[in-house]
Subunit: 389 residues, 2 copies
């Protein structure tokens, strides 16, 4: 079937066969199908959607456009966690060492900040010496040895996703749930995982503003996982306000350390524990959620999770002393209190605006090549429901 | 507004401003907006449509992408007719001389065969010597002097339509009524007309298969005309079977001559008279349809319409003797009767298949550079409702 007929078929609301999707995406990957035909197809997908079998074929074609890691020679169940992005989301920094301390293997290929949201890689790089560009051989070695490795996307994993994302970004098909879901899942499935926990953020600071959209995205991604034979669990978590109290790279590393010391804000601790518990259950390290939570609390109480974070940092070139000594991390030259002009209770936080304000301070990139200042950020002394004087 | 935001706005069903449309199409014409953004926008238009003001802006931008002829220095009302295409549609060849014989100025820029349909230019070129590539100065001169001129599309008129049509053709947005309407109207409005009669074909041999689609297309084009300050009338005419009995270029020229001699099949004569009468009314050559019809019958009866056809042919380099002597026209070497295998009445004709069969004989192009054999074609000895033995 010609590309024209595939576009027309989707435009007219008919389901595409796996073979049609594979041939279209394969042709696009090889440069035989031009951007304008892909732009027309993705706009038709925006209006007509993709069914579960179509999504599996679409994701599979993107996955197979590059290297698909095989970590089956590393003993243990390999489980990753992916967040759809929010403000103050430093969960991965505590979750990876906790899961690894409990015996889960954590292959984690993370991203940079996007728009108003922060990125795990940017946060990690505020630890002096920490490297996220280690390459796949070292990645394998650290997963096997340390139990976790957190690196950046490589050019060899799902390259078509990168090409397609750039096209969607200029043709107004970014906010399309099937395309978001297949983009995330193709990258995650290329990492070599056995199972995946998804943290779908919902609220004013998330990309999904409504529960309905978040639930649809979550179900779509879980469905793709099922079609691809992977165990996938999704939690919808609140992003009506920033997670925890810290926003900004080094500040968030400090707050992640606080989780592992049992001293973090309750919302952040709960979110991290709930997601990590799912990983333990998927990895069969714990028989159920209750046992998983108990196990996680032990690894915090006995210091093994904190020790694991230091071990991961050291293995990736970072100075491990930051887990005990905050002064190792970059510090802002100027620290100013911002006081409320009125008295009362905080009724809401403009979370996306907070994220953008942090970007403006230098915590994120305003342009692709902007430099990040790891020290800057905000500490929210008051959150929703708290009294301001 | 950036191209991205214009695509998103249309995708989300909001109306675009004239300025947004002008800037997008202008950018596309200048090559600043790439094909992939236009492909995304046209697919969004496929789903969300264009309102009357949007269509006027869209058509205006395509019109102004090239030369817009100004024939206002030529005395008389300039009226053209455009058909959306069918099988056996030789109306223009009789209509132009009839209208000109009655004092209408007919600036007619015609097309080639497309798909299963024939094209006026291909038909005219079966007259030995007839040239359709005369250029605009000669075109003006013949409209002023002879009263009609039939030429082909020049590269300078609405070039964006050509570029956009080629893109739509490979991105499955050809069969989109607002885009069809603006494509036709931008070319016609560039010709220098004061008024326009549209022949919207409907039925199995037309591009519009249903009355509903044909009516929508007709109303859309009339609406564009009104927004652009031109008088436009549309007739819906039957294309459930070929028009007249002749299909094929030289055969259709002969049948067009028969119209002007009062000897053509009734359906063809009626269609031609009805359309030409509208032109006379629009040109104010006749006060109403009845008077226009009477006038047309006189110009057939007194031979002035036939004389005008010969005059047009001579002015465009053709051998004018064909109006009296069929042997001047190319003749097929082999003529074979095709007999029905059963007896009864013709219940229907697969009109599109007849058109494609004529193309396969050589009456049209299977590829862009195929050569046309002007002599080949079909004579339908029996049409719908007639007895076959």
């Amino acid at each position: 079937m010609r590309p024209y007929e595939i576009i027309k078929k989707k435009r007219d609301g008919q389901a595409l066969s796996a073979q049609e999707i594979t041939s279209f995406l394969g042709g696009y990957t090889r440069g035989e199908i031009p951007d304008y035909q892909m732009a027309a197809l993705t706009m038709a997908v925006f209006f007509k959607g993709l069914s579960a079998p179509e999504l599996a074929a679409w994701t599979g074609a993107m996955l197979r456009s590059g290297e698909v890691l095989d970590l089956s020679d590393i003993p243990g169940v390999k489980v990753d966690k992916h967040s759809t992005g929010g403000v103050g989301d430093k969960v991965s920094l505590a979750l990876a060492p906790m899961a690894a301390a409990c015996g889960v293997k954590v292959p984690m290929i993370s991203g940079r900040g996007l728009g108003h949201t922060g990125g795990t890689l940017d946060k990690l790089e505020s630890i002096p010496g920490f490297r996220v560009d280690l390459g796949i051989p070292v990645y394998r070695e650290l997963i096997a040895g340390v139990g976790a490795c957190l690196i950046g996307q490589t050019a060899t994993l799902a390259p078509t996703d990168k090409k397609l994302y750039a096209l969607r970004d200029v043709t107004a098909t970014v906010d399309c749930i099937p395309l978001i879901a297949s983009s995330i899942m193709s990258k995650k499935l290329a990492e070599g995982i056995d199972a995946l926990v998804l943290d779908v953020k919902v609220g004013s600071g998330a990309f999904m503003k409504t529960r309905e959209d978040a639930r649809t995205l979550a179900r779509t991604m879980v469905g793709i996982g099922r079609e691809m034979g992977k165990k996938v669990v999704a939690l919808l978590t609140d992003m009506e306000q920033p997670l925890g109290r810290a926003i900004g790279n080094a500040l968030e590393v400090q707050e992640a350390v606080a989780i592992l010391k049992g001293k973090a804000p309750a919302d952040l601790t709960e979110c991290t524990m709930a997601l990590t518990a799912e990983m333990l259950v998927l990895a069969k390290v714990a028989p159920g959620r209750a046992e998983a939570r108990a196990r996680l609390e032990r690894c915090v109480a006995d210091g093994s999770a904190l020790k694991k974070l230091a071990e991961i940092a050291r293995a990736q070139g970072g100075d491990p002393r930051f887990v005990e000594d905050e002064s190792v991390l970059p510090k802002a030259r100027n620290v100013r209190p911002i006081l409320s002009l009125t008295e009362g209770y905080v009724a809401g936080i403009e979370t996306e605006a907070m994220g953008l304000a942090a970007v403006a301070l230098g915590a994120g990139r305003e342009k692709v090549d902007s430099l990040i200042d790891p020290a800057v950020g905000f500490i929210l002394e008051r959150k929703v429901g708290e009294r301001v004087q």
